[in-house]
């Protein structure tokens, strides 16, 4: 039995009320959407807000619709809704795929896209009960002053572990944040920081209201693959998202690859354009891209499975993803 710390639960129905409440309760409140990340973390004593502000009832955070140049996905839409939405499935199949591979069915019914983008980083030494963490000695991310992963470093390297952000990055999506100081848009490529303690640019008072995916990206060939121990429930050990613009003659116009579940933010693979642009995605190009990815990825002991094996899987999963990009 894992007890939650005590809190009061607030259920605003409008965005302005939600942000207003956060202002009133400031410093002592957190937003909660599906709660599938926050509730286990609170049960582990990692967060102890006195107030929770629920986002599921906020009407402005609902809906998936095409509007102007974007597909707009409300921040509180569930992963089940995102994975089943016809517009998402036809235009952004890799996003539908990523959402459909988060956790298991019940968690996708509750978990939201906003919560997925704002997911807390994960680490073997962090996602544990208070008892467990105390027994080992606390770490930098919570209550301590050492990192059990790097031993020497003064930086937390807990793993970014969410499935949809890598895909959203290859599609040049934008996240919309609304807080006490108003609204701002942040390209998701710039949203994540290399700091495991707090790895996004979202201020704690800001609500992620919408994910905007440019419809212009719908023409890209997309792929998403995920490595995990079991085919369901488990967080990723590695994910690879790829999107490529193909020319009429079958050569690559542009190509983007993003991997995650390694460090504290998703990694944009570099140097792919110079390898692939102007060439067909044949076996040679695929091999060169896989080698580049392997060189750039250095998994750590931040999640349970052997980093050397996870590293060896990088080229394997890049090849698999590229094979999907080439399929019509």
């Amino acid at each position: 039995m894992l007890r939650l710390p005590e809190f009061e639960y607030h259920r605003p129905t409008s965005l302005s009320d939600a942000v207003g409440l956060m202002g009133e309760l400031s410093g002592n409140a957190m937003y909660i959407a599906g709660g599938t990340d926050l509730v286990p973390n609170m049960k582990h004593g990692l967060f102890e807000p006195r107030h929770l502000i629920a986002l599921k009832g906020v009407s402005e955070l609902k809906g998936i619709r095409e509007d102007g140049a974007f597909l707009r996905i409300g921040g509180a839409e569930t992963l089940t809704a995102v994975s089943q939405d016809l517009g998402v499935r036809t235009r952004f199949p890799a996003l539908a795929e990523a959402a459909a591979h988060v956790a298991g069915p019940q968690l996708r019914n509750a978990g939201t896209i906003g919560g997925n983008v704002c997911l807390e980083t994960r680490c073997t030494y962090y996602n544990q009960t208070a008892f467990w963490r105390e027994a080992l000695g606390y770490c930098l991310k919570k209550d301590g002053d050492v990192c059990h992963v790097t031993k020497v470093g003064k930086k937390c390297v807990a793993a970014h572990s969410a499935d949809t952000p890598p895909v959203l990055m290859t599609l040049d999506a934008v996240v919309v944040l609304v807080g006490p100081r108003g609204e701002r848009e942040v390209p998701i490529r710039d949203f994540f920081l290399a700091d495991g303690i707090s790895n996004t640019k979202r201020e704690t008072t800001e609500i992620l209201t919408e994910v905007r995916v440019p419809l212009a990206a719908a023409g890209r060939r997309q792929a998403y693959v995920k490595l995990r121990q079991r085919k369901s429930i488990d967080f990723p050990l590695l994910t690879v998202a790829i999107a490529a613009e193909m020319e009429a003659d079958g050569t690559v116009g542009s190509i983007d690859g993003v991997v995650t579940a390694l460090g504290s933010r998703p990694r944009v693979l570099t140097g792919w354009g110079e390898v692939a642009e102007g060439r067909k995605l044949d076996a040679d190009v695929i091999e060169e891209l896989a080698i580049r990815a392997h060189k750039q990825c250095h998994p750590l002991e931040n999640i349970t499975v052997d980093p050397e094996w996870r590293r060896a899987m990088v080229p394997v999963y890049v090849r698999r993803a590229l094979a999907r990009v080439t399929v019509d």
């Binding site: 894992l2 639960y9 709660g35 286990p40 298991g104 019940q106 509750a110 369901s232």
Partner: protein, 164 residues
């Protein structure tokens, strides 16, 4: 300092409940320790196992992660609500006949996930059953007999619907 309490209004298996709960309770804690419905199991208590699965407005839901307030005003069905006065649910009967439960700890959650599946699709393929139950762990059976039981229950529901 005693925990803050408040009154929550729930509809569980068709019955209305108006009960005082500590404001930090989950739906599972309220069902088990306030209302006294102990069918839904407290397994991992953190989203990993599915033993606490109940049906909220037609969707399989992990009650160990749901703050009780999120269930207010919605239709909650637990394993206790599957049987009717006429007898056990087809799934319950077929789990029995197929030996689909051993220790039984996972069974209430699996019955809830499977009941939603069969409501939507009484003749699911093996893959569809696997997908629908992919958030429910069973450490005893190896799953095969569970899938057999769900198939058998689906057939029985279809036969009953087609019977003159």
């Amino acid at each position: 300092m005693p925990a803050t309490t408040d009154i929550v209004r729930l509809i569980v298996n068709g019955d209305r409940h108006e009960v005082g709960v500590p404001t930090h309770f989950t739906l599972l804690e309220t069902l088990r320790y306030v209302i006294g419905l102990t069918g839904s199991k407290q397994g991992c208590d953190k989203g990993d196992c599915g033993a606490c699965t109940v049906i909220v407005d037609g969707e399989p839901t992990l009650s160990c992660l749901m703050p009780v307030w999120e269930a207010e005003g919605r239709q909650v069905t637990t394993v206790e609500g599957l049987a009717t006065a006429a007898g056990p649910h087809a799934l319950q009967d077929c789990f029995d006949l197929n030996g689909a439960a051993q220790c039984g700890f996972c069974t209430p959650g699996i019955l809830c996930s499977a009941a939603v599946l069969l409501t939507r699709n009484p003749s699911p393929s093996r893959e569809e059953i696997q997908e629908a139950l992919s958030g429910n762990l069973c450490r005893c059976t190896g799953y095969s007999k569970i899938y057999d039981a769900v198939e058998a229950a689906g057939r029985r529901l279809l036969d009953a619907a087609e019977a003159p």
